[in-house]
Symmetry: C2
Subunit: 362 residues, 2 copies
Amino acid sequence: VDLSRVERNARRMAEHTRRLGVRLRPHTKTHKCVEAARLQVEGHSGGVTVSTLAEARALAEAGFRDITYAVALPLDRLDDCERLHRDLDGFHLLLDHPRTLAELERSGSARGLRWSVLLKVDSGAHRTGVDPAGDRSVSLASALHESPEVDFRGILTHAGQSYQCRSAAEAAEIVNHERTLMVDFADRLRGAGITVDEISIGSTPGVMAATALEGVTEVRPGNYIFFDATQAAIGSCSIDALAFSVLATVIGVYPERREAVINAGALALSKDPGPTHVNPQCGCGVLVDPDGQQLIAGHTIVSLSQEHGVIRSDRDLDPSWLPGTRLRIFPNHSCLAAACFDRYHIVRGTEVVDEWHPVRGW
Amino acid sequence: VDLSRVERNARRMAEHTRRLGVRLRPHTKTHKCVEAARLQVEGHSGGVTVSTLAEARALAEAGFRDITYAVALPLDRLDDCERLHRDLDGFHLLLDHPRTLAELERSGSARGLRWSVLLKVDSGAHRTGVDPAGDRSVSLASALHESPEVDFRGILTHAGQSYQCRSAAEAAEIVNHERTLMVDFADRLRGAGITVDEISIGSTPGVMAATALEGVTEVRPGNYIFFDATQAAIGSCSIDALAFSVLATVIGVYPERREAVINAGALALSKDPGPTHVNPQCGCGVLVDPDGQQLIAGHTIVSLSQEHGVIRSDRDLDPSWLPGTRLRIFPNHSCLAAACFDRYHIVRGTEVVDEWHPVRGW
């Protein structure tokens, strides 16, 4: 992990969102560690977003006080949620279904607490969330608003389709749509007498591309702290913003087939296929020199098995590559690749200055 | 992890390889834990195979005495290799390049030890290994044989292309080719005055399909201990042999698009695309009821993001599926999915009887 790049990515997002006039509640799922979360919240309220209760627990223990668990609540985790609810100033849950509300009401009464809840909205990713154009979304929001057992905070979405865009211009269109849809939905709810304090949106491509976010109260990008080869390919960042890389060793060279093999496979880079919609030949990551400064053009990581990566060159293989040669890879998807490691070597330039330990599990 | 299935898979492979007249040196990369390795070696010599030095260290500490590190040696790990070499009765390294031999000779002299080495052979997977038809393979074997600093044990291959087969019949062809190629290569080396004690082959599909392995001394299958949806699809096993599964919770239901969302995503199942060459619509794993007994036909896990899996039904969504409903998934590739977890719940029937802790890292 290149610390200077992490710091720069964090600072830029903090400034960008201040200029946009929205609170930054950064997502921590990409790095899953306390140190990076601290850099992300500098200059903002300190609120963060998590994808697992394990992340929430680690951040709570490190002193974070305001956490949104941005996955539709799994109902078998209420004990863990209760502990976080009691330990934190704010611990916010997501739901999109009346059954979840009914379970929260029942458990809130039984446990003597009032859950803080956001309504998850589908803004086009078609993963989870209510349809804001439908009637059931309003009736569920109304039930949340009326319920004495929950504290209804507002609405939240993640326009994950932004990962499928091809340029910053396309990402800007998506985030404009995401904003408009959410603000209009909030207006509709308010028209029905429902209080909506929070309008939370965001993904890294969308927020990076946003130029105005009127009506939105907070954004939750996460990947931007490391970025990755996909984000560079779709125009969210330049290559020199990529802060997470995997250092690998050549373990085989095969000049006759213009291939070399490295000891970084699917368990170091993940099997994420990368931005094939932008570049069908993107391969399994971007190859750079060991110092991480120079792209190695004309070389593709063509396949990954568990502990092997196969690199193919479109010219003769560099004769200086031998077993023992080191290469660096910017993975396609840093969220998945970072999760392969139980520690990150934190570097400034080529010097290892620290070691961070991401949490794991759920 | 279904313990009865693990025990049965281990027993069947142990018996099958005894009938074939070959030693079983099971690969431990799929499970990465001591308990499963102990079950794998029952009735055989006790030798095992690893894909990382972390696996080797864990097994050495648990009393395993004979380990093959079946990845072409990364030359920056000689310190770790030396510790294992000194601690074990047998610790065997792989190489396919003269530079690696030169480095082993230099380091063997400097460290006062004689490395145990196998020559890695390419039998068609085109990942690592020397070409047995070429001259350089013989000259490297000769250099290994002549070297006073290394103990040349023999030749080793992994016909990884067996994962691309479509049936047990095709896997049988591949393993026959693998056997013949290795035995012929050994004969060629012996004809050149080179001693070849070990002829080591093997992958799960190939070994499962093998009916005769004359000349082969040992096999190194690994996946068979858990099997997975890919192995079932290509004919290595039946579905009721699958011993590793992921229990997930429904967190969203969307009858209007016939979809449900579970809290098992790429960090629980891996992004392995599965046996698309057999079934392009295989999706991201095989869905079963929570007890793991009944396939849920007509449902496909159509996409995975970090913490979400999207299930699509080809009929109306089962109205009994609600947030909180549990489902079980047999992953496409158990080696990658198991590596997502820091512990396995070991079950007999529906009772959790133990917890195993796989090692991680390299």
